[in-house]
């Protein structure tokens, strides 16, 4: 597949502070790409670079093999759904959606048809005359999406579009957005700091931290093969333990040797060892290599979340069965459950 957008060595700084540090990203046609990362990591800035609202200090933006780094936003075949919707308050729903078409001076008939189609797509039929200020958050959201999509952009940029919605509405809109993306076959670049949202909706997830990309990959790969401890922890709560690589497929954790499946590290190299809470099994046998005392048990709906204190680490464990608080348990995990990562710099 062809790349629609490529960011090459993008650097952005505000007031001498580097906000994006050498971003390289290729986005394929019709892909649902999510930029995921904690607040302030540069997600919005990346989106604004693609939208044309800021110029990078260096680097280039390539759109369908053309360099568009210097092109102003109104000349780009890209539309944005803004974080707070940015609907035009003096226009009604119809006129908001028709805005881009009117700018392009399309004939009235075509405008009516396109807007009606779009409002149908986002389930807002019959809302044409409504004042946008009197709509609910979810409805405003859908107007914003219709307003952007009606222009049939090659790429749609969405900046935390579901951030202001309650959980139930969020879930509904997630499915809705995915449906729209697939039926229109438009590339979506989606920003969120919600890892679950990123994993469920995307074809590709881009994990960012402090203005750098940490990992790019399919949701499954990001989840199962996180490249470093930050990604592992951000994608889902994890146990991150200091370890030392003894040789290929053998690692020392908490003073004990464990078999693992990773290789290619130096001998005696300090590493981060990541073990997911759901991969840990608790046994009643307190003679295991690692054992501890159950400090707390919390019911989470589907599973119990437990904290088990061993001599040098507090383990987070998810399981459908829970031992008593205060009981001695053994902590078990297999070679497949151990993920070895290079120590993060800094």
């Amino acid at each position: 597949m062809e790349n629609v957008i490529s960011l090459n060595d993008i650097v952005v700084s505000f007031d001498g502070e580097t906000v994006l540090n050498n971003i390289n990203l290729d986005i394929k046609d019709k892909e649902f790409v999510t930029l995921l990362g904690p607040s302030g990591c540069g997600k919005t800035t990346t989106l604004r670079i693609i939208g044309g609202f800021i110029q990078p200090d260096s680097g280039e933006v390539i759109f369908e093999n053309k360099n568009i780094t210097k092109l102003p936003p109104y000349r780009r075949n890209v539309n944005t759904v803004f974080q707070k919707y940015a609907l035009f308050p003096h226009l009604n729903v119809f006129e908001n959606v028709a805005f881009g078409l009117r700018v392009r001076k399309l004939p009235e008939k075509e405008i009516n048809k396109a807007v009606a189609e779009m409002l149908e797509l986002v389930n807002l039929k019959g809302f044409e005359e409504r004042n946008v200020q009197n709509l609910s958050g979810g409805q405003q959201q859908r107007v914003a999406i219709a307003r952007a999509l009606v222009n049939k952009p090659k790429v749609l940029l969405l900046d935390e579009p579901l951030g202001a919605l309650d959980l139930k509405l969020r879930k509904e809109m997630q499915t809705e957005l995915k449906r729209i993306q697939q039926s229109l076959e438009i590339t979506f670049i989606y920003v969120t700091h919600d890892q679950e949202e990123a994993l469920t909706m995307s074809d590709t997830v881009v994990v960012m931290k402090d203005g750098s990309i940490q990992q790019i990959g399919r949701p499954v790969d990001i989840y199962n093969e996180p490249q470093n401890a930050f990604v592992a922890d951000f994608i889902g709560e994890s146990n991150i333990i200091d370890g030392i690589m003894l040789k290929d497929r053998l690692v020392a954790i908490c003073g004990h040797e464990f078999e693992c499946v990773d290789s290619g590290f130096d001998e005696k190299q300090p590493v981060d060892v990541v073990i997911r809470p759901e991969d840990i099994t608790l046994t009643a046998n307190a003679d295991e290599k690692i054992h501890g005392v159950v400090r707390s048990v919390t019911f989470k709906g589907v599973h119990y979340e437990m904290v088990v204190d061993s001599s040098d680490f507090s383990w987070l464990v998810h399981s459908t069965k829970a031992p008593e608080v205060g009981s001695e348990v053994g902590i078990l995990f297999g070679p497949d459950d151990i993920h070895i990562m290079n120590k993060m710099k800094g």
């Binding site: 939208g51 609202f53 102003p72 936003p73 109104y74 890209v78 539309n79 944005t80 803004f82 974080q83 707070k84 940015a86 609907l87 035009f88 308050p89 003096h90 805005f99 881009g100 700018v103 392009r104 200020q133 009197n134 709509l135 609910s136 958050g137 307003r147 952007a148 222009n151």
Partner: protein
């Protein structure tokens, strides 16, 4: 307690409005007396409209007020646009400077403008008259326009300017199509404020007008120095009524734009619940 506060408010209103009420009543009095009411007449109003000096200065006042408020609305709005894009420090500084002419005693502004015009008069063939008066009025009107327009930028829905560009409008078109409608209420109230201030300015006009461009307040002032005619009562009554109408219109418009905002806020509060 409630009764007391009501009494207090009525007293304040009484002090404010009794003099005006008395003036209005006496503008309909048949004799020239200012203590005895002897009967109802519209004579003074009729005379007023035969008095050429008054009519001419009324004309001057309106022309000046219209010109000055239009020009200062333009200048002030442009200034507000610029200021709204400044950094925090620049914004605070410029707004501070903007406020100085408002706090500054009018007499200082008046005298300094007069000195400035004298300076130019000596060098170029510039006469005191319409131009000097217009410049002076624009000078004291602009800060009020800026002050009325600025808050609209803060209240504006964020990112709509960028959204318009995103949808294909160039910078200028984006401004006209989405920003201007949003700041319009501020521009109109700024215009009305500038207009009323121009209409009744005395001190600054006194120092900057010439013999050919006397405004109404100045004419009234010179009339009271000779003999006080009830025509002045009639004239002042008319001015008062006009100003009240302008203020009422302005308030209604503000109330309306506020109501729309409030309605939207109520709505979102409901959704959060």
């Amino acid at each position: 307690m409630k009764k007391l506060s009501k009494l207090y408010v009525s007293l304040v209103l009484l002090f404010l409005y009794v003099p005006i009420f008395v003036m209005i009543v006496f503008s309909f009095n048949t004799t020239k007396s200012r203590s005895v009411l002897s009967g109802f007449t519209l004579e003074w109003y009729a005379k007023l409209f035969e008095n050429e000096l008054i009519l001419k200065s009324l004309g001057n006042t309106i022309i000046i007020a219209v010109c000055a408020s239009i020009i200062s609305t333009l200048l002030g709005t442009l200034a507000a646009i610029g200021i709204s894009r400044m950094g925090k420090f620049g914004k605070a500084t410029v707004l501070g400077i903007n406020n100085i002419p408002i706090i500054n005693p009018e007499i200082v502004t008046g005298v300094s403008l007069m000195l400035l015009f004298v300076f130019f008069k000596a060098r170029m063939s510039m006469e005191f008259g319409f131009t000097t008066l217009l410049i002076a009025h624009i000078t004291f009107d602009v800060p009020y326009v800026v002050l009325n327009v600025m808050p609209k930028f803060r209240q504006m829905t964020p990112h709509i300017y960028e959204a318009a560009q995103d949808l294909g409008c160039g910078p200028f078109k984006s401004f006209i199509k989405v920003v201007l409608p949003e700041i319009m209420p501020g521009i109109i109230s700024g215009f009305l404020m500038a207009f009323t201030f121009s209409l009744d300015d005395f001190v600054i006009s006194y120092f900057t007008s010439g013999p050919t461009s006397q405004t109404l307040p100045i004419t009234i002032y010179s009339m009271t120095r000779r003999k006080v005619s009830p025509e002045i009562n009639a004239l002042s009554t008319i001015i008062f009524v006009v100003v009240v109408i302008v203020l009422v219109v302005k308030n209604i418009m503000e109330r309306r734009s506020l109501n729309v905002k409030k309605y939207a806020d109520d709505d979102s509060a409901e959704i959060i619940e």
